[in-house]
Symmetry: C3
Subunit: 253 residues, 3 copies
């Protein structure tokens, strides 16, 4: 199984699929091609949340603002999974989640004059992912297509500061429903009935959207385990005027 993730929209992912299917009969599964454009951190968050639900797979990831520069191409062994993508940190949070308590092994994909300097998804990463799926790493190392990585770019998603009666964190991403997903752990809402966001009038802390009227705001714990600031049948990002990267300070009671 090979999963595909990118910020490409359409139809560039199809070229990657054509390349993959020229190398392998593997099942292909799209994770998303609608990640926010060139937003390495948002992609890293979503991949960390979604990839652990998959059975063992090669995960091809292309969110790559540095395409064509000398940033390396990586293949990361993490538990039963492989991740293949640019060396800009996007793979690392998901790799750590997939490795569970195990370690990571990082390889550099040896890139030999790709056809384009703007579409390494097609010309570098998809061929590498296809070959890795077909043969595993050892033949690729022997063929000089992979070598141990000599350092890499890391990325840690920011963590919130939990304190008595609240937390200080930030918005990591806004999902397609408009839910503003923070980095504040959901446990901060344990036992709480109300939350004040950035000093404003308190809103309900609720387990379900339907606990508040249509159009009303709430704080809840999303499926990722973090606090979300939402509106039932509406957009939390607009109601709270929050965008990815904005700081949020929560007081609960």
């Amino acid at each position: 199984m090979i999963t595909l993730s990118s910020d490409f929209g359409s139809p560039y992912p199809a070229a990657m699929k054509g390349v993959l299917l020229s190398e392998t009969d593997a099942r292909l599964v799209d994770v998303s091609h609608e990640f926010p454009r060139q937003d390495v951190r948002a992609a890293a968050f979503w991949l960390r949340e979604v990839l652990p639900y998959f059975p063992p797979a090669v995960h091809l990831v292309v969110v790559d603002p540095g395409v064509g520069t000398d940033r390396a191409a990586l293949a990361v062994s993490a538990g039963d999974a492989w991740l293949v993508g640019p060396d800009n940190g996007v793979l690392l949070p998901a790799a750590r989640a997939l490795a569970d308590d195990g370690g990571l092994t990082l390889f550099e994909v040896v890139v030999d004059d790709p056809d384009s300097s703007t579409f390494h998804g097609r010309d570098v990463f998809a061929p590498a992912a296809g070959r890795l799926h077909e043969s595993g790493a050892d033949p690729l190392r022997e063929a000089g297509l992979l070598r141990p990585a000599d350092g890499h770019v890391d990325l840690e998603l920011p963590t919130a500061t939990v304190r008595d009666g609240g937390a200080d964190g930030e918005v990591l991403v806004v999902d397609d429903f408009g839910n503003a997903i923070t980095n504040v752990p959901g446990t901060v809402l344990d036992g709480a009935s109300e939350v004040s966001v950035d000093g404003a009038d308190p809103i309900p802390a609720a387990r379900t959207f339907a606990a508040v009227d249509s159009g009303d705001p709430l704080a809840t714990v999303g499926s990722h385990g973090n606090v979300e600031l939402d509106v039932n049948r509406g957009r939390g990002d607009e109601w709270f005027d929050l965008a990815p990267g904005d700081a949020v300070s929560l007081e609960v009671r």
Copy 2:
């Protein structure tokens, strides 16, 4: 085969696919993840129109404004197909279409403390659909994971009133082309050359978009068999100023 339908956009459907593929090697086919957000009626319409074209399958459907509340989870046996989703009526119009003249058998999916209260697509419906595909219903009943449903929420799409020289109905959905799809049966246009919508100047009743100039309006019979109000190479919803739920009165001649 398992089909997936939701209003999730991206990337939440991928988590459902990961869960499904941890249970089954079934083929997965996306019907849509772009149904209008939390619009149970629109999803019910599209599912009724599209699912009958599939061979026997388990159809996983998650348009679920009541997620996390005590609304039940259903598995509906309809002809050769199963439908799995929330008990809010969204499954019923498609189930009746799939059952053809046969009856429906409704089961409740027994939900045992899911991981989240906001993403039952991942934590309740996908596991149930995967297991149903793998084993059929009987082992799940014996294991206490399914039980006969004790009532359910129904949903009937509204029907138009056909009368001499026209019909009174409403717009059910607007498709991605901007076509305003009504609930008026296409037979109302039989032999007609013109249609007046809500008393306005008549527009052509035509069999094809290309029968009128680019940018001009027309009434036609869509692929679902209902009257659509369209614009050739344009958006009918904007030209006619119509949205889902709006009443439409048609006079034909």
Copy 3:
């Protein structure tokens, strides 16, 4: 393998998949369902760029402003591949690319009173593509479902005029990143460091987006081999005020 391409958005492609899967167990791969609406030329460009990356397949293509009129339905044999779609030229540039130096053989799909006059993707092209995949052309010819095409609509993508120190061409498409993809061959940028677009102040000619600051314009050679007018982490179409079909005159130095 059957690929699907259309301008349908969602959920109409699912009905085509249901029909295909009632005929065949082939792998289905979406190329795009987000081609610009009813823009035959844009679809022809993308298909020409993307389809050659696929292994042998039946390529189902539905961008069809003339649906329901007497425009024919075509099945085109091109190298190892087949293309199935409307006779409006959309198939031809890709077919020529797939045939490489070989010729094309064009058949007309015999259409016998389809269920709808607005959705031949479901009622004409998908059944034809499914049958072609299952049996090849000969049984379909014997059954009277295919016959040699008696002429067809051609479409040539416009070519740029390359001259000393520049080229005169046009924008073919704008991709989802906002890159304005022209028909000027990338070789025009060989050795150039700057490009003036339509007489404006020169911008850098660069191999990678990251060669300019975030928000700054550049001219580069896209993955299709043509000159693109782009903005690093921004939209080239907006910066240059260019849309598909607009003429562009480039001076390089």
